[in-house]
Amino acid sequence: MDYHWDWLFFFRETDDGLKYYDWILSGLGWTTLVSLASLAVALALGSALGVMRTTPKRWLVAIGDAYVDVFRNIPLIVQLFMWFFVVPELVPDSIGMWMKQDLPYVVIAVVGLGLYTAARIAEQVKAGINSLSRGQRDAGLALGLTEWQTYRHVRLPMAYRIVLPAMTSEAMNIFKNSAVTYAVGILELYFQYKQIIEKTSQVLEITIVVTLAYFALAFLMNRLLAFVERRTRVPGLIVGGKGGGVP
């Protein structure tokens, strides 16, 4: 093979005075930031939507269902372009200008990825709550807990335990999905990957390194949540299989 392997290029200087490995580390940092921030948005909003869809209030169910239908049926990259290019034109001018000029890109990217993932979290939270017996809710209410307290102390703690393996997959997916945000100018790992290929044409080395980096991020998340799963396991109760997130 004619390919000229050169692993040391990572230590060479770039145009901007940094080393190539600095670009990778910087990309890794942005990928981690965007992913974790989006995950926080997705968990908060997805949980709220999942709960709404299990309440006896029909209008809350309708809002939750509509949200999931919209955000689950449109490709992530199209949703990101919507937030970047279309939404600023649809809102009042002053807000649109602010979105285009002052709002950091990364915030829009985090919101976009977070809202997309929230639809999937909402599905899981709903499924978890619905898998519990109706008697658990009744028992909470019969003790005088309010509907909200029954969610907070009785239903959600068990629902999260039940769907933790599915959520683990989602938390790993978000690292992979965050690569799409390069398309709206976030200088994350995939962006740096493309840039380094253009500058150095050391395609194989950089591809291997970036592959390993993404693998490590998702794998770390998997191990972390497997640990959470073990720590929160209820003694004497069998929920699903053994610990360890489903990849």
Partner: protein
């Protein structure tokens, strides 16, 4: 204490309760029996508004449960309920099960709540299990904890929804013993159960339901001696002679 007046309930067009009227006086023990699907559980769940009903009225300690202005959590906190499938909270220890509502609903301090919970746990003979989780206890033990959990709220009356139906036969008596003791102490109780031995021992009245209606509502001696309706006679014959 509990006045049920002309209560009717429908699921869609299907009527599950038809014009049910009865009442439970203070310190009275009333047993509700009847074939499955007769509406017993539904009726008892109407008492603390776990099930809504479309017609009639239920007044508990002077408060109408169907009134939209009624503070339901406050009302329910005064009415203890024990379920067929125990419904302990699986992710909480026994102590946490006994204290959560005391703390969150009654506003008791943690120390007060634990103190009260452990006393009641002792009373049902399970003090040694305080740190365990429900999944580590037998069905009979779980149901005794569930009774203690309801009593921890200092209820003015207790509702039992087939408390022994999900238990293995050898565990039924440990639960019934607790209920008998409670009845003898003067607790107001409404019990859906097929345990006719329990009914004979402590019930003041027996209500027989069939197809959503109260067919018979009689003092215990009368019910077991000479039920008036043929359906109640048939039911008794079936569950007493097998």
């Amino acid at each position: 204490m509990i006045e049920i007046r002309n209560v009717s309930k429908w699921y869609g067009s299907f009527q599950v309760l038809t014009d049910c009227t009865t009442n439970v006086k203070k310190s009275e023990v009333v047993v509700v029996c009847g074939p499955s699907g007769s509406g017993k559980s539904t009726l008892i769940k109407c008492v603390n508004a776990l099930e809504p009903f479309q017609k009639g009225s239920i007044v508990v300690n002077g408060v109408a449960v169907e009134n939209p202005k009624t503070n339901l959590p406050k009302l329910r906190a005064q009415v203890g309920m024990v379920f067929q499938n125990f419904e302990l909270f699986p992710h909480m220890t026994i102590t946490e099960n006994l204290t959560i509502a005391q703390i969150k609903v009654l506003g008791r301090s943690r120390e007060q709540a634990v103190d009260k919970g452990l006393k009641l746990l002792d009373r049902v003979g399970l003090k040694a299990q305080a740190a365990k989780y429900p999944g580590q206890l037998s069905g009979g033990q779980q149901q005794r904890v569930a009774i203690a959990r309801a009593l921890a709220m200092d209820p003015i009356c207790m509702l039992f929804d087939e408390p022994t139906s999900a238990l293995d036969p050898e565990m039924i008596n440990e639960v019934l013993d607790v209920m008998v003791q409670l009845a003898q102490e003067g607790m107001t109780m409404m019990c859906v159960t097929h345990e006719m031995g329990f009914a004979r021992k402590v019930a003041h009245r027996v209500i027989f339901m069939d197809r959503g209606a109260i067919v018979e509502d009689a003092p215990k001696e009368e019910f077991f001696g000479q039920p008036r309706s043929e359906r109640a006679q048939n039911f008794l014959a079936k569950i007493l002679h097998h």
